[in-house]
């Protein structure tokens, strides 16, 4: 066999290896997910979804987790969106290569790489202790808001950038102030992208457990949070609690809880895609 022929065969083998490298992890993930759904399907029922945790695995439910997660992401979004969009507007419309804007950007890119548990320590030190919120829903939401802030800012900036400069210039030429242009021209057009960013941020927040554990979300909660100041739990932490138990029966609960978490995530992402498509249709350029 000639050298060239060996080379050609070698190349084919290499491309096959590369394809395996792409496909194998996906196949493994799929198998693991199917296995998990199989294990957890037996525990899924209305009683599971509407029940409270219990010492008996078969009677345990995840309502506090679902409700807690729900409240948490609403408050998180309420905090993170105005600040995130405001920061994005400042960086794209007002700051634009100023030294201050640069400094903010450097901070943002560093913060995006900080492990989530460090945000937990931040929340513990500042929100729980110094600001006296205690181990409350509000402290958790503030912590998560800081965590997802870089995501909101990045997505909002991308969205703002897609608005063509010609539209801005047209508005300025009519005598509008910068804020008028921003509020009436840029933001409405950037809205689909900002919404997508919000959903991305919320998707990230709903899957997080570590920073909330540090801030003081409880693992065993038999009540629903009544106010911003009350203790709380979230779905991932409930699953974590079950996985950590030595008794095997709780593992099925953990699987079921994970399935619920995945379904919620899938719904949110589908919502994002659908919303995006619908809002894009309204575009006239």
């Amino acid at each position: 066999m000639s050298v060239r022929r060996k080379e050609i065969i070698g190349e084919r083998v290499f491309v096959a290896l590369c394809l395996i490298a792409v496909v194998l992890p996906l196949v493994i993930l799929l198998l693991l997910l199917v296995d998990m759904v199989w294990d957890g399907a037996g525990r899924l029922s209305w009683q599971f979804l509407a029940g409270y945790p219990s010492r008996h695995a078969s009677q345990a439910g995840i309502l506090p987790g679902i409700v807690g997660s729900f409240y948490l992401i609403i408050v998180t979004a309420a905090l993170a969106l105005p600040i995130g969009v405001g920061a994005a507007v400042y960086l794209e419309e007002y700051g634009r290569r100023g030294r201050l804007a640069n400094f903010i950007e450097v901070n943002l890119s560093n913060l995006a790489g900080v492990p989530s548990i460090i945000y937990g320590l931040l929340g513990l030190g500042v929100f729980v202790r110094v600001l006296g919120m205690g181990r409350s829903l509000l402290a958790g939401a503030c912590t998560m808001a800081l965590l997802v802030l870089p995501i909101v800012i990045t997505a909002s900036r991308e969205a703002i950038r897609t608005v063509p400069d010609s539209l801005r210039e047209g508005a300025y030429a009519l005598g509008a102030t910068r804020w008028q242009v921003t509020r009436q021209v840029v933001l409405p057009l950037a809205f689909p992208g900002i919404l997508t960013g919000a959903i991305l941020a919320v998707s990230r927040a709903i899957g997080e457990a570590a920073p909330l554990i540090v801030v003081g979300a409880l693992a065993y909660v038999t009540f629903l949070p009544e106010s911003l100041g009350s203790p709380f739990t979230v779905l991932p932490i409930q699953v974590f609690n079950w996985v950590s138990r030595p008794q095997k029966e709780f593992l099925a609960n953990a699987a079921a809880g994970s399935v619920v978490l995945l379904v919620i995530l899938l719904l949110m992402n589908s919502l994002a895609i659908w919303l995006r498509a619908r809002l894009q249709k309204r575009r006239t350029w």
Partner: protein, 287 residues
Amino acid sequence: MNLSVEQTSESPPSSVLVRVNPETGQGQTILKSNVPVPKIKARGLSAWFGAKQVLREIDLYIYPRSVTAIIGPSGCGKSTFIRCLNRLHEMVPGARLAGQVLLDDQDINAPQVDPVLLRRRVGMVFQKPNPFPTMSVRDNVLAGLRLCGKLKREQADEIVERALRQAALWDEVKDRLREPGAGLSGGQQQRLCIARTLAVEPEVVLMDEPCSALDPIATARIEALIHEIKHQYTIVIVTHNMQQAARVSERTAFFLMGELIEVGETSRLFTSPRDRRTEDYLTGKFG
């Protein structure tokens, strides 16, 4: 009486008209042509990028051990033409080809032809010097041989010196062989790329506007080196600079809007072009 056209075994081979005696099988040379056998023949060559046709039915012969220049205004298909000669054209997504290109009478687009092996016989120097950024001067020269797996360690130094001398670069870099190739000046980088191409010892060297990114002094150096090496290689040079074509080549082909308008001996083409359009281009009426 059987007449046939054959090639002699001289170098370069010439064409001869031979009469073969059917009984004895002996051949007798009747007529010998002064024109050598073409190294490359393009027959009815057409090329497209997607739906846009950029070359129309080109019929052009390239003769060995000489320089053929291809001139014409921007966008006339000159670069596309030479990229068809080493099968780089097909690497662009959506690119298409029709017609034939023959190297030593062998169709280079035939299914059994390996483009990789073709490119070891037909080398190319690009418009913008492209030395490999992670390699030293020495490694750049040897890169072609290394990538083809044909480098013999013991010969490396000798090959480097020979290629750099042919590219008229040896004296300037002989003390800097281990320095990064990208650290040289523009003209030096282009000569390095030429050395790299020559190190592989191709038969044909295609040059796509090799001097257009260089200053006049560097250009003159490269033209001088083309003069030196043309007796060893078949050179096809695309240039938008008519004077360069006149200085450097034996034959010139004029392209316009994807068509070959006229081809002929350089001095004849420049002094008495046969086609009106050639004359207009040469006198600067457009271009």
